[in-house]
């Protein structure tokens, strides 16, 4: 348990550093799509909700789990769809019009 905890902290720290380095390089041009993309990725919390909703550990767990899946799934679907729609609009000079 203790070792697991330390591993998790290391993972968090390293992921935080990677996040800073990677996201610092994102052009301000794309800050809005960046936000909707990270939002969709963040909805990975759905995996916890799925296990909760499906493991029959009582009404509370099932109800909360189910609502949580609905909320997260709408973020995943909506987030990816709108990010792609926004990115499709960014064209360089001289690019063909659609």
């Amino acid at each position: 348990m203790k070792l697991d905890l330390m591993t998790s902290l290391y993972v968090f720290m390293l992921a935080g550093f990677i996040g800073f380095e990677v996201i610092r390089r994102v052009s301000p041009l794309l800050h809005t799509p960046l936000m909707s993309l990270t939002n969709a990725l963040d909805a990975i919390a759905v995996v916890g909700a799925i296990i909760l909703a499906g493991s029959q550990k009582g009404t509370l767990a099932t109800v909360f789990g189910t609502i949580a899946i609905v909320a997260a799934t709408s973020n995943i679907v909506g987030g990816f769809v709108i990010t792609d729609r926004m990115l499709k609009m960014f064209k360089a000079s001289g690019a063909k019009k659609h």
Binding site: I18, R25, P28, L34, A45, S55, G65, F80, A92
Partner: protein, 459 residues
């Protein structure tokens, strides 16, 4: 033998890598769509893997919820581009709702045997989750204009907010040592729910970019905390990436508004409202008609357009595109200078102008464009105010002194399209309007730009 746990762990590992790549590819518009694909594949892998989990015995509700979520998600992905700020706020609320619900259920399943560290991160998860939930709903309401956009402040606001937060942290600390006192747990959800509302009440529209970024960061951190509770490395990584992203954006935004980061962290926005308006009264401004302005634009070699929230409100971006075309056709070099806090979320102006088919290599951020103004013939300000105020550079008594601005006053001619002489969000008069080289173009942004286009194509 390969067991299902191994398959799941491998799927999570690949998904984690794809998430990092997804963000990496967001660095440039040429690779960004590949980033979305990577994210989608990672997400599918992770969900498919999770469905194999041995604890799942009943798929009915999972299936219903996945379908329902998709049904809600598709229209949320298809909203008008002008509704993107409120959609973003709403999605932060949904993410936070998911995390809060899972955290709450986990607590009641585990109590009274909750190890201390787990109780600590679980508290963090539900506190951040609940305050982000109501805070984001409030932000979405203000952006959708179902709630009043002006900041509502009262005496002792910060004290009330900080005591609420402090009280919640005390309860959380107590629960860490006494996780069996489960009647206290609802407070960890309810007080932050109230705090989320209180936090957004004093915030005005122009501070939204910072607040939305901050809520983004909170949503990410609460998901990372959930990863600690569920011992899911995938969730920790995704949450940390989202948290870092939101944090970077909020730091950028607060720098662009010249506010300290502690100011941001405590949600103390819009508190130092200035009463400097009216100081410049009595000075005269020069105004011009569309015909006169079009003649100057047509004779220019280089034009920089400075869009602001007013352009979004007036829905003028497509007319601006027509102006861009008309001037480009005449051989005028047209660029756009975009301040980081122009609009209601980071990058707002870029999305609107890209939607209007303006090539992204013409959209330059503040640092890139500022050196160009002394060689610019015309700086055309459309619906922006405080971000062009030279007082931020040269008047130490101004409340926005020190805020980085677009140096439009260095251009040979400045044109400002504005409805009237009312001051901007900060309530500060803009000396730019009284300069010798400034022409005020009074009118609605969309119709005025429309008349400019007509004049240019007519002559």
């Amino acid at each position: 033998m390969i067991r299902s746990e191994h398959v799941i762990e491998l799927a999570y590992l690949v998904a984690t890598a794809l998430f990092v790549l997804s963000l990496k590819w967001m660095s440039s518009p040429t690779t960004a769509r590949r980033g979305v694909r990577a994210g989608e594949v990672g997400m599918l892998l992770a969900i498919a893997g999770t469905l194999l989990h041995h604890e799942i015995v009943d798929y009915t509700w999972i299936a219903i919820a996945l379908v329902l979520g998709t049904i809600i998600g598709v229209p949320l992905g298809r909203v008008q581009m002008t509704a993107v700020p409120q959609r973003t706020a709403l999605s932060h609320a949904f993410g936070a709702l998911c995390v809060t619900l899972v955290g709450t259920a986990e607590f009641y399943l585990k109590t009274p045997d909750v190890p201390q560290f787990m109780m600590a991160v679980l508290s963090l998860e539900v506190i951040l989750g609940s305050l982000t939930f109501t805070g984001s709903l409030m932000a979405a309401g203000k952006l959708q204009e179902v709630l009043p956009q002006r900041p509502i402040t009262y005496k002792g606001q910060n004290l009330v907010n900080l005591s609420l937060l402090g009280f919640t942290l005390c309860i959380a600390a107590f629960l860490v040592y006494h996780p069996e006192q489960k009647y206290l747990f609802p407070l960890l959800v309810l007080i932050p729910l109230a705090f989320g509302v209180m936090m957004i009440i004093p915030i005005g529209g122009a501070d939204m970019p910072t607040v939305i970024s901050l809520l983004n960061s909170y949503a990410g951190l609460s998901a990372a905390a959930m990863g600690f509770v569920l011992d899911s490395k995938l969730l920790i990584v995704a949450g940390a990436l989202d948290g870092a992203s939101g944090l970077i954006l909020s730091i950028n935004m607060s720098k662009a508004m010249n506010r300290s980061f502690t100011n941001v962290l405590f949600g103390a926005f819009g508190q130092e409202q200035a009463s400097a308006a009216g100081a410049e009264q009595g000075r005269s401004v020069k105004n011009a008609t569309a015909e006169e302005a079009a003649a100057i634009l047509a004779a220019a070699n280089s034009v920089v357009v400075i869009p602001g929230y007013g352009m979004a409100v007036a829905q003028a971006q497509h007319k601006v595109r027509e102006l861009f075309d008309a001037l480009t056709k005449r051989g005028v070099d047209v660029k756009f200078g975009i301040h980081p806090v122009a609009g209601r979320i980071p990058g707002h102006m870029n999305v609107l102008l890209a939607e209007a088919d303006i090539p992204y290599d013409k959209l330059l951020d503040m640092d890139e464009i500022n050196g160009d103004f002394p060689q610019t013939d015309v700086a055309l300000v459309i619906g922006a105010n405080d971000v062009t105020n030279p007082a931020a550079r040269n008047d130490p008594s101004s409340p926005i002194y020190g805020m980085p601005i677009l140096d439009v006053d260095k251009a040979r001619t400045v044109m400002v399209i504005k409805r009237g002489m009312s001051p901007g969000f900060a309530g500060i008069d803009n000396p730019l309007y009284y300069l010798d080289q400034t022409l005020m173009l009074f009118g609605d942004a969309r119709s005025f730009v429309g008349s400019l286009v007509r004049e240019l194509s007519g002559s």
